[in-house]
């Protein structure tokens, strides 16, 4: 078991398997195993069952609670842009956020800026009806930036507190699609110079190491200010969020835990890390 002041191979293998299995990636997993070894040697931990708590505390330092707080504008409307790769859960997350803020008494407006995908506008429209909020959608064949612009106009004119703009899924390695996102941002600024106040990258919780790449490119190209990790009601642990820390610093703001409008929670580092480290 515990050989001298050194963690045994069995302990290290088990720890490595847990961390890799949670999508931390092999490099970070190795770093953390080394950290645990170091702590054991220095007597910072005394037994193998203290490893989880030790590592959790170490990693938790990277998630200061104030970072996870949502960003709001100094004066209404706050504009939130929802971005991410195909199928990650953007439209559903937009609906969840609308519900969350409506419950808090905010006047919420949705914008269906995915003008590309089959029935994307219908999907968000159905959600707007379920949540009970207004929605701006373009004419058939409208450009996403014109929908965003129209929505900003309405949000200002009719004094909405919050505007949530849902965009089409896009793979980050498609330059023309990332350029389109930059265009949407510029157009928003024409109407709301301080906006968008929050750009949320919606990341599928089952994603592996490609999440690091997604975060890098979306942060560089779209000015991402926060992450939403979806589908954590499944068996995936979303550990790629830890792997990306070495490359890009984006705070996690929300966790998606299901397909209903109520299945959204503000990010809580403790429960997120508990699920990973056990």
């Amino acid at each position: 078991l515990l050989v001298g002041r050194k963690l045994g191979e069995a302990e290290c293998d088990e720890l490595r398997a847990t961390l890799i299995g949670a999508d931390l990636g092999p490099r970070l997993a190795e770093d953390l195993v080394d950290k645990a070894q170091g702590a054991f040697k220095d007597r910072a931990i005394e037994s193998a069952d203290q490893i989880a708590q030790f590592l959790k505390a170490e990693v938790k330092k990277q998630f200061p609670p104030q970072d996870s707080a949502p960003r709001f504008a100094d004066e209404a409307p706050t504009v939130i842009l929802i971005v991410g790769v195909n199928g990650s859960g953007k439209t559903t997350t937009t609906a969840k956020l609308a519900h969350f803020y409506k419950q808090q008494g905010q006047k919420v407006l949705l914008a269906a800026a995915d003008t590309f995908r089959a029935a994307a506008v219908e999907q968000l429209t159905l959600w707007s009806e379920r949540v009970g909020v207004e929605i701006v959608k373009g004419q058939q064949g409208a450009k996403p930036d014109s929908v965003a612009y129209t929505a900003c106009e309405k949000a200002l004119a009719q004094k909405f507190d919050l505007l949530l703009i849902d965009t089409a899924g896009r793979l980050h390695n498609k330059k023309n699609l990332m350029d389109e996102l930059e265009k949407i941002t510029r157009v928003i600024k024409k109407k709301v110079p301080s906006g968008p106040h929050e750009v949320l990258l919606v990341l599928d919780g089952t994603t592996g190491q490609n999440a690091v790449r997604q975060a890098e490119v979306f942060t560089g190209g779209a000015g991402v200010t926060g992450l939403v990790i979806t589908k954590l009601d499944g068996t995936a642990k979303g550990g790629a969020v830890l792997a990306m820390r070495s490359e890009v610093e984006v705070p996690v703001k929300w966790i998606g835990l299901g397909e209903q409008m109520t299945d959204l929670k503000p990010f809580d580092a403790d429960s997120f890390l508990d699920a990973i480290f056990g």
């Binding site: 398997a17 890799i20 299995g21 949670a22 999508d23 990636g25 092999p26 490099r27 790769v85 195909n86 199928g87 990650s88 859960g89 590309f116 995908r117 089959a118 029935a119 219908e122 999907q123 429209t125 159905l126 959600w127 379920r130 793979l171 980050h172 390695n173 498609k174 599928d204 089952t206 994603t207 592996g208 190491q209 490609n210 999440a211 790449r213 589908k231 009601d233 499944g234 068996t235 995936a236 790629a240 397909e259």
Partner: protein
């Protein structure tokens, strides 16, 4: 990892050569650790990497590597060939019936690309002179039926849908409808679901029992990480999966999930999705996937 695997192994082995000594088995084992890292970085599941490396390890310490002028190339070739061997094989084509409609059932996790892929298959089959019928059996997701109807209109392929009944009923009625209207392929698009959602997994089992599909295709997102093993195992345990379709390969994910899923289910990867448009479906090529995984 901007260095390719061959480059990093190359610099590793040349350092040894520079010290003037021959490559030993121990050196090769060290080189294999680099390979293991590359596979994990590529999202191949850990238990699959372990089994794979055991197999490769035996071959790698053979004469071919030890005596080679370029040991890194020999080693990468062994790994590459082993990947192709593992990911290839099995019936890579759709098994189409000559009598009565062929029933193809799509399944998988939320957002993996099922609806789009179902339409892509209809497109492909129509181009081959078949008469597909698209079936909108996702009664769960807002506007899922509308989504498939739009795609069907784009392809000029009929879409069967029915409200007020359960998804298994829609599927059974669709098969009857296909027989009545002379459609010879029935493509069942189902709702995305978690493999741990017992009720929804039971619903899929019911569809399978009542329609007896000739093909059950698991649709997997190419960017999925270690969880690929969990979900694939469960779908394969509960349904007679006949094949896998890997989507969003036009992205830059290394796609290690391909190896993971093939390894735990033993089922062939039949197609890959390489874009959002309905003609963006290609046959699976194990050698291309092997190169991609190795980065």
């Amino acid at each position: 990892m901007f260095e390719t695997l061959t480059e990093s192994l190359g610099s590793f082995f040349s350092k040894i050569g520079a010290k003037g000594r021959k490559i030993t088995e121990t050196d090769v084992k060290e080189g294999l650790r680099t390979v293991r890292m590359a596979l994990l970085e590529a999202d191949v599941a850990l238990p699959v990497v372990k089994t794979f490396m055991d197999k490769v390890g035996e071959k790698a310490v053979g004469q071919a590597v030890l005596e080679s002028v370029q040991p890194q190339e020999q080693l990468v070739k062994i790994v590459h060939d082993e990947l192709i061997d593992l990911m290839g094989g099995g019936e890579a084509q759709l098994v189409l019936q000559n009598q009565g409609p062929t029933i193809i059932m799509m399944c998988g996790l939320q957002g993996s690309g099922k609806t789009t892929t179902t339409a892509k298959l209809a497109n492909r089959l129509k181009a081959k002179g078949r008469k597909p019928l698209l079936v909108a059996a996702d009664l769960q997701r807002p506007a899922a039926v509308a989504q498939l109807k739009v795609l069907g209109e784009d392809l000029d392929v009929p879409v069967f849908s029915e409200s007020g009944v359960s998804p298994p009923d829609v599927c059974v009625h669709a098969v009857a409808h296909a027989k009545q209207t002379g459609r010879d392929i029935v493509l069942l698009d189902t709702a995305g679901r978690l493999h741990i959602d017992d009720d929804l997994m039971k619903e899929l089992e019911t569809v399978q029992q009542r329609t007896q599909p000739h093909e059950i295709l698991l649709v997997v997102d190419a960017m999925v990480g270690q969880d690929a093993v969990q979900s694939a195992k469960e779908f394969d345990a509960r349904l007679p999966i006949s094949g896998v379709i890997l989507t969003k390969l036009d992205g830059d994910a290394r796609g290690g999930a391909a190896l993971s899923v093939k390894h735990v289910t033993g089922k062939p990867i039949k197609f890959v999705g390489v874009g959002e448009k309905l003609d963006r479906l290609e046959e699976f090529h194990p050698e291309r996937m092997a190169t991609r995984i190795l980065g």
